[in-house]
Subunit: 230 residues, 2 copies
DNA sequence: TCAAAAGTGTTCTCCCTACACCCATGG
DNA sequence: CCATGGGTGTAGGGAGAACACTTTTGA
């Protein structure tokens, strides 16, 4: 049997999905990269991704990639751009549909058996393979735009968290600092947080209230959108 | 020579670009559709689009489609989503990279020699071919989101226009009504409009000032973005 | 003289911002 | 008793929303 059995009248590009997977470790916004084991760009880091299967949509492909790399099935993903420069892959024409994913990093680290995968702080990402430097910039821009209209945090934080953790997440994503008191006021006015009875001792100095998201209000706001000034 | 000469080891999808072309006639937001001349969906209306050529990027393909359909070369285009459901085209697997374009409708009508193309008010679009109903909804949502962060109008309005025309454009896109005085204040404060010496008589009642965009400030704002509350 | 369209100004309110004070703990 | 971190309150400013008055013309 012929090795190349799928034939077309006109040239068809390969189509892949790539996943820019973001996580938050309590301090930095992180992104999951895999090291390429073969040419081209052998040894360089890149986003997890792969060819789209004939029977799956791009979103299903992205979810499949995400599961293969992190073991997670229910993470938030969002398509943000499709990259189609004819020479973006030196081997053949490859078009990639890029997704960003938000995951709870602590849910990944346990089941992470992909030895070649590693979390990098977004402030300290090496030069990437292909056009993935561009893809990362676009993913970050999309994430930062998103934060102005939609609540964020549910997909990136543990179930219970302190206001300080939430603020640190916002600061890590936007790269700016907020006034502690004004940030708390703003978040509490959004009415998507539930103050728990529990507390923790993030430092030995003083205990801090724990919060969780009021998921109904959270999703309502996520649907309807809102406007957040920063 | 073999009819199907491009062969691959794995199945490759076809990739197309579709253009959701928006225009404004002074009253309604319009979208340009073409009537399909063949099956599938013969007789239904659809967005202009076509196969991506091997040597062009998706953006180049979208610009090519736009030029073929409208004659325009310098319109604003923006990629907004890629549609990849495996069965979205009954013939074979087709992935489409969708763009929205903003054009000055009066620049098109002269050179529009595509007899099968027609402008439809977005309030009155027939059922479309393929998944183009979904694509239109997404394009409109993107356009409405965009308006909150970036100035709009330069690509859709004539060079000279009245404040009322600008307001009607915003109202047509967002589907809501504004207070005339507050809208004018807001726009003038953005500092992207230049009041011309000319006036027109849009109605026999009273003359109205003409404005044009201060394109430097306009592009600066377009680059930097801003936040517009509505 | 009245209706319609366009230009301009004022007030009120809310939210964002900047900033200060209190409390509890470990050293 | 003091430094550190966390919780809460207050005064000022700016921008949006609601709203009214004036001018000009044709009927």
């Amino acid at each position: 049997m012929e090795n190349k059995q799928y034939c077309y009248k006109y040239p068809h590009p390969s189509v892949t999905t790539d996943c820019v997977i973001f996580g938050f470790d309590g301090v930095d916004l992180k992104v999951l990269l895999v090291e390429r084991g073969q040419e081209p760009y052998k040894g360089r880091w890149a986003f997890p991704g792969g060819f789209l299967k004939p029977e799956e949509s791009a979103e299903e492909g992205a979810l499949r990639e995400l599961k293969e790399e992190t073991g997670l099935e229910n993470a938030y993903i969002e398509q943000f751009h499709t990259y189609s420069a004819p020479d973006r892959d030196p081997r053949e024409r490859v078009i990639t549909i890029a997704y960003l994913a938000l995951v709870k990093i602590q849910d990944v680290e346990g089941g992470d058996d992909a030895a070649d995968a590693q979390w990098f702080s977004v402030k300290n990402v090496p030069q990437l393979a292909f056009d993935h430097d561009l893809i990362l910039r676009d993913a970050l821009r999309r994430l930062r735009e998103r934060i102005h209209f939609h609540p964020i945090g549910y997909d990136l934080l543990p179930m219970k968290f302190t206001l300080k953790e939430l603020q640190t997440l916002y600061e890590a994503i936007l790269g700016i600092r907020f006034d502690r008191r004004n940030f708390a006021k703003k978040m509490l006015h959004l009415d998507i947080l539930t103050q728990l009875d529990e507390t923790v001792w993030p430092t030995p100095k003083r205990e801090a209230n724990l919060y969780s998201f009021n998921i109904d209000k959270y999703n309502e706001l996520k649907q309807r959108g809102f406007r957040l000034e920063f």
